[in-house]
């Protein structure tokens, strides 16, 4: 990391190393797409041998299209103009035979979502061995091949036994390691990593990033890494290019771009993921509409939602009992936002579902204002007016056939609150900051942006005047610039309406942005509960510390560039 850091301040264009990849006025347009704008517009870029470049941008900005054009892997509907010079040779004009030789041998790809990028019915060994056989087939005999594949598996820190495994037998992180081993198989000079860690947990993400940076640096391989998360890129790459609507809007050394972004879109990206411990970000998620000042003498009221020794068990396919939630005591008070933090599989979603009565606990109790929540269908209906759910992916949390009006009115109709329905819907939409409400009422989900969809979901919850909302990863599938807006909305609802919230997240920055207290969940247990400052700045439990250490941007105290790579 350090030697990369030293090179940071030199502009890449002036670097003395031979040019590995050069894009000249590259544009890509999809035939079928109705958008007038091409996916990529006039991008110029140079990457020297062994250099690392991060490509940042939100979904649909053209960053993946750009990456795929390097190996000419775009679908047939794409028309490409400009040049893609790989080692001085234009990929776009190569003959098929030449292109096949260049693919993987000169440049390889670590695809997004290794889940689908690996062939589900072939063994790991065969999939890693395939490119070696293809590109060096004549020089490699079976024993040599075996040695090299096992060496690769070893280098990505997987046990040799995994060679005989099928993809579905591996965890997400392990699959991504296999993808990395595969990418390195033919010793390419360039590796393109397309959101290599997006679907992974924080800790696994840190491991995979560290592994990839190490292997790339050791071999002097050039790296282009694509991500929506600037801090991830800053932790791995020397330079960062920011893309917005198909254009490259800013280019510069990582540290500079993270700290002093110039283009307003880069600023939005940089502000989206706060540095934990940074006082400037506490109770101040990045938003364009100013937040009310946090009241200094705020009183957190009585607990409204509370669990007592809650336990939920599942049976796995083998018939063994899995403890999803073990003896959890958690309380959310009036006028308070609690963040429930943990990695996937830690039981946090099960806990949320149990709180909402969607899952029956095996033992223990859930109280709403000192009364135990009923288990009968009728009783639950009443309870569900008080406690509302906001889901992770607003795109799938809304029925694609229902307009925003119907989505918001659904809860009202279920509970028979039909007097002045349009007025109630309009007020809920406005409370969720969809103004003017009339403009959004007839919109179908696919006509709305990700942030607007999540606001409709929130409006649907607000329409019933709930006391508490349980939000399950409310911003995890939203673009970075929208993230801050939605968090600001939750915070504003708490300040203005006194709405309590339990926010489930894997993202510690979110807790720092809006939460009052944090509960850390690990393997079904709450290992640490306390105020945000206590838990995040002075973590007691080892797991909390490892979570904090894995945050790519690092924490405020340990400096902006953290030591996450190790």
């Amino acid at each position: 990391m350090t030697e990369v850091a030293e090179r940071q301040d030199e502009p890449t264009e002036a670097s003395s190393s031979p040019v590995l990849l050069e894009l000249r006025d590259l544009s890509v347009r999809y035939l079928a797409a109705r958008e007038e704008l091409p996916a990529v517009r006039g991008v110029n870029l140079r990457l020297g041998a062994g250099e690392t470049l991060g490509l940042a941008g939100e979904s649909g900005c053209g960053k993946s299209t750009l990456a795929m054009s390097v190996l000419r892997l775009l679908p047939r509907t794409a028309t490409i103009s400009g040049e893609v010079l790989l080692d001085g040779e234009d990929v776009n004009t190569m003959r098929w035979g030449r292109l096949r030789t260049v693919r993987w041998a000169s440049a390889s790809v670590v695809f997004q979502g290794a889940m689908h990028a690996l062939n589900p019915v072939r063994k790991i060994y065969d999939q890693i061995a395939e490119p070696i056989q293809l590109h060096h087939g004549s020089q490699v005999d079976q024993t040599e091949l075996r040695r090299r594949v096992l060496e690769l598996i070893d280098q990505v820190e997987l046990p040799a036994s995994k060679a005989e495994a099928y993809p579905h037998e591996l965890s997400g992180g392990q699959k991504q390691r296999v993808m990395i081993a595969m990418a390195l198989a033919c010793e390419p000079r360039l590796v393109i990593a397309d959101e290599p860690t997006t679907a992974l947990d924080v800790i696994v993400q840190a491991q995979v990033l560290a592994l990839m940076s190490r292997l790339v640096a050791e071999r002097g391989i050039g790296l282009i890494m694509i991500s929506h998360d600037l801090s991830v890129l800053a932790a791995t790459c020397a330079n960062i290019a920011v893309m917005y609507r198909g254009e490259m809007v800013e280019f510069g050394p990582s540290a500079r771009l993270l700290e002093q972004p110039e283009h307003e879109h880069s600023q939005a990206l940089a502000a989206a993921f706060p540095t934990i411990g940074d006082p400037a970000a506490r109770f101040k998620p990045a938003t364009s509409t100013p937040l009310p000042e946090p009241e200094p003498d705020r009183c957190v009221g009585e607990p409204v939602l509370r669990t007592e020794n809650l336990r939920v068990d599942f049976r796995d396919r083998g018939g063994a009992t899995v403890r999803a939630v073990r003896d959890v005591d958690l309380a959310v008070a009036e006028n308070e936002i609690v963040a429930l933090v943990g990695q996937s599989g830690s039981g946090k979603t099960t806990l949320a579902r149990t709180l909402l009565g969607l899952q029956q606990p095996d033992s223990g109790r859930v109280y709403f204002r000192d009364t135990e929540i009923p288990s009968s269908a009728r009783g639950l209906r009443g309870y569900r007016r008080q406690v509302q759910l906001i889901l992770q992916d607003p795109a799938s949390a809304l029925n694609p056939r229902h307009s925003a009006y119907e989505a918001v009115a659904e809860g009202l109709r279920i509970h028979g609150l039909t007097d002045d329905e349009p007025g109630r819907v309009a007020r809920a939409l406005e409370a969720a900051e969809l103004r003017p409400a009339e403009r959004f009422m007839s919109a179908l989900p696919h006509e709305l942006s990700g942030g607007q969809k999540q606001r409709v979901v929130i409006a649907g919850a607000l329409a019933l005047d709930p006391t508490v909302v349980v939000a399950d990863e409310p911003v995890a599938s939203l673009d970075a610039s929208v993230r801050g807006e939605i968090l600001a909305l939750l915070l504003r609802l708490r300040i203005e309406l006194g709405l309590s919230a339990l926010v489930i997240t894997h993202d510690l920055g979110l807790a720092w942005n809006i939460a009052d207290r944090v509960a850390v969940m690990y393997q079904g247990e709450l290992v640490e509960v306390g105020t945000v400052e206590e838990v995040l700045l002075n973590p007691q439990h080892e797991y909390t510390r490892s979570l904090l250490a894995a945050v790519p941007g690092g924490t405020y105290r340990s400096g902006p560039n953290g030591e996450c790579a190790h």
Partner: protein, 305 residues
Amino acid sequence: MTAGETKPAESARSIAWARRRQAAGRVWREFATDRGGLIGLIVLAIIVLLAVLAPVLTNEADLNVTTTELPPRDPPSADAWLGTDRNGVSVLLLIWWGARVSLLIGFSAALLSVFIGTAVGILAAHFGGWPSTILMRLTDFFLVLPTLVLAIALAAVLPRGLGTIVLAIGVASWPTTARLVRAQTLTIEARPYIERSRALGAGHAHLIGKHVLPAVLPLVFANTTLVVANSIIAESTLSFLGVGDPSRPSWGGILQAAFSSGAATQGAWWYLLPPGIGIVIVVLCFTLCGRALETVLNPRLRGQG
């Protein structure tokens, strides 16, 4: 204020209707881009229209075997464009009237089959536990029965008639629809918006009525056209095997009469070809329509165009 309140209420309803109109328009536009489906629909419309208008356009009395003046088994001529059958009735007329029977049975059997299948499929998917197990067990059982033999048996057991054939085909063919609907319901029920609705307090009726049915019905509709095609073939096969309604010959029934009177070995092609071609055209049109609809309505296939 009252005026202000009623206006949005109306607009709420009109929003829903505008949305439905819009969705229907979109489906139609996408459907119209599929040339095969469009041709199929047009041809079907013509055939159905002709079949419905048969009593107006033709004289039913000409079907009467006792009053016909044409020679039996006569090749096509100016009097009978498609020749005559063993009794001297015009084959064209037979086919014209046979279309009514074939289409009627095809539609009714498909409706019955799809109705049973959709009900079983949705119930089995929505309510888990033992009711679902029993329903699926039953579906699997009907799925392994040789449908044709089962239909033959049913048709043989019950009194002869159109109703019997409809029942036999319907009862023998619902499990495929049930499986399809169950699978589709399961994917819908796994969507987070069902969870959201449940968290809002929705009961079974609301979930099925507002979310599951509207999402499943388009696919059921596309499936129905395919089931109609299958039912018409099944009907013709049953009639050919001799369990049809002899008083009102369908296309299969005409073929059965032709076969049993030795038309195949005597080379009376005008007696054998036209009813079969009729079946092929109608079935092909239904299939083309069904496939086009499926492509438009099934999001999983949409990527393939």
